[in-house]
């Protein structure tokens, strides 16, 4: 089932297109990684597709009313913001907000979604801690748990594993992988190419606002594309545990 269809999406900053006629499809069961160097337009593509930025072209998510969109796709912004000293559980419970009537309390179903999200991110013991008193990486996990509590078919995340310790990075991507296996989908931008190759079913590669490759990690990550897009001298090694991208230099 198609969860997101984007056609000829163009996002302009002033006159300059930061995303240039991008088209792609996300179906259930997919964990899609969005890769590209800094400034390639990954964030603008994701925000445009959510309808959070003015854009040209079409996106099935942006066409929905805000309420329906919130039930269809959860969005994890790159900037991690927790403005007030609230408990971890309360922050995660904000993910249920789109389903709550004005002033209503959490129903048992809402509470179980919150519990499941806390468990998935390994935050059971953090429930009553103040989210603002946690470390940056822990806050990042709390915010990921918030998007999981929203319990949507599609999860869109902007660099969710930046600043996490290696175990938490892998655990987070495993959660995304599990979501895909459960018949949902995740679209996430990342910079760790080896992790992207290992946990994503598909990669979309961007350069200067355009999608230049879209397919299985093995096809997208080649020494040529890494040199061309990332200016990297790198080997792509096939190991029994999956692809390993080993950069060993920068092309001047």
């Amino acid at each position: 089932m198609t969860l997101l269809n984007v056609q000829n999406l163009t996002v302009k900053r002033g006159e300059c297109p930061v995303v240039d006629r991008a088209s792609f499809n996300i179906s259930s069961g997919e964990c899609v990684g969005l890769i590209g160097p800094n400034g390639a337009g990954k964030t603008s593509l994701l925000r445009g597709a959510m309808g959070l930025l003015p854009f040209e072209g079409t996106s099935t998510l942006a066409d929905l009313s805000p309420r329906h969109r919130a039930a269809q796709a959860a969005w994890l912004p790159q900037t991690r913001e927790i403005a007030w000293p609230m408990s971890v559980e309360r922050i995660v419970a904000l993910g249920r907000l789109p389903y709550l009537a004005r002033g209503a309390r959490l129903s048992p179903a809402d509470q179980s979604a919150v519990d499941a999200a806390l468990t998935r991110m390994g935050l059971q013991n953090f429930r009553t801690r103040l989210a603002t008193a946690l470390s940056g990486g822990e806050q990042a996990r709390v915010l990921i748990a918030r998007t999981l509590a929203q319990d949507t078919p599609l999860l869109m995340a902007d660099e969710p594993i930046a600043g996490l310790d290696p175990a938490a990075q892998i655990a987070t991507l495993q959660v995304f992988e599990t979501l895909a296996q459960e018949g949902r989908a995740a679209l996430t931008s990342l910079h760790d190419l080896t992790l992207a190759a290992r946990y994503c079913t598909r990669l979309i590669m961007m350069r200067a606002g355009s999608i230049i490759a879209d397919g299985p990690p093995r096809d997208v990550l080649t020494p040529d594309s890494l040199a061309d897009v990332f200016r990297l001298k790198a080997d792509v090694i096939d190991t029994p545990l999956g692809l390993v991208v080993q950069p060993w230099g920068v092309i001047a």
Partner: protein, 326 residues
């Protein structure tokens, strides 16, 4: 719920004290009868025409300022925000000063508050034009600062050009803020406008909760930020504009009350909204009581007492926050 109960008890206690503390010592039983129009006609006049409007106005103004302060802090995600930030109170004060300066204030009974209200509306209109329909919170703050500064400049100009020292001191005294010598008609003028403001602000809870995670996340959770902003502006303008129009400028309530109560509201902006409304009422009632208990013969002004209470409280909070951070 415990918080709600505690704040309600506190506010009701302050309200009752406000009714029964004053220059004329009226026994509680006779005072209650007088409120209903029974007994000594002098007591009836004091209770119905002097103390009841005063207590009601103090509670209404406190609730307006507390609620607007909590909403403004929640929207800007900044504990230093206060309702005066968007220039409504400055504009309303300017209106009142113009009415006093030109003598229009004595044209008819409620001429002063009505002029102040009109100026508050103009101030909000200017902010809307300046900040644009879907600007960020930064443009809103900048527009607010511009309007406040302009209103303050014009207020100074009015003082500068005041025809005689009496007019100048009348203006000065009015600007210090007070709920003394107000009539029930002041209540009836302010209440409907404030109630509209309260309704608009009380409806912000959901959006403010979502905004805890930032503007992008809130919008993705189905919150319309431009609508939220309009509702906040309208609500603050109505509640704070009406408060300033009948009582003059009373500072610190909108800043300090949400700050004190945030911990008890467990940080939730939606809980903090109604908590700050009730807490604000209690605080202004207490400050007004203080004006009557401390130096009763010198006519202390509410705004002055409020600032005297508010500033040290705020310093204490800063000190505590500093210790928590290090």
């Amino acid at each position: 719920m415990k918080l709600f109960g505690a704040l309600m008890v506190l506010t009701l206690a302050m309200f009752t004290a406000s009714l029964f503390v004053g220059y004329a010592a009226i026994p509680v039983s006779e005072g209650l009868a007088a409120l209903l129009g029974l007994g000594d006609p002098l007591f009836v006049t004091i209770m119905q025409d002097i103390r009841l409007p005063r207590a009601l106005l103090a509670a209404m103004i406190g609730a307006s300022l507390g609620l607007a302060g909590a909403a403004m802090q929640g929207f800007l995600r900044n504990p230093l925000a206060e309702p005066g930030l968007i220039g409504v109170s400055g504009s309303a004060a300017l209106g009142a000063v113009v009415a006093l300066q030109t003598g229009f204030a004595s044209a008819f009974f409620l001429a002063l508050p009505v002029t102040a209200l009109c100026f508050a509306a103009i101030g909000v209109g200017l902010i809307l034009v300046l900040a644009g329909p879907r600007g960020s919170s930064l443009t809103l703050i900048l527009a607010g600062i511009a309007v406040s500064a302009f209103a303050a400049a014009l207020t100074s100009l009015a003082l500068n050009l005041s025809p005689n020292p009496y007019a100048a001191s009348e203006i000065m005294f009015w600007m210090m803020g007070s709920v003394a010598n107000r009539a029930l008609s002041h209540v009836w003028l302010a209440l409907p406008i404030m109630a509209l403001g309260w309704a608009a602000l009380a409806g912000l809870g959901r959006g403010l909760d979502a905004l805890t995670l930032g503007e992008d996340a809130a919008e993705a959770m189905g919150i319309s930020l431009s609508r939220l902003r309009l509702q906040l502006l309208f609500g603050t303008a109505a509640a704070v504009g009406a408060a300033t129009a009948v009582a003059g400028a009373v500072g610190f309530v909108g800043l300090v009350v949400p700050h004190i109560l945030r911990r008890f509201a467990e940080g939730r902006p939606s809980t903090l909204l109604w908590a700050s409304a009730i807490g604000g009422a209690a605080m202004v009632l207490a400050a007004d009581l203080a004006t009557r208990l401390v130096l009763p013969e010198r006519d202390l002004k509410l705004g002055v007492v409020m600032a005297l209470i508010g500033a040290p409280l705020f310093l204490h909070l800063i000190y505590k926050t500093r210790r928590e951070i290090t």
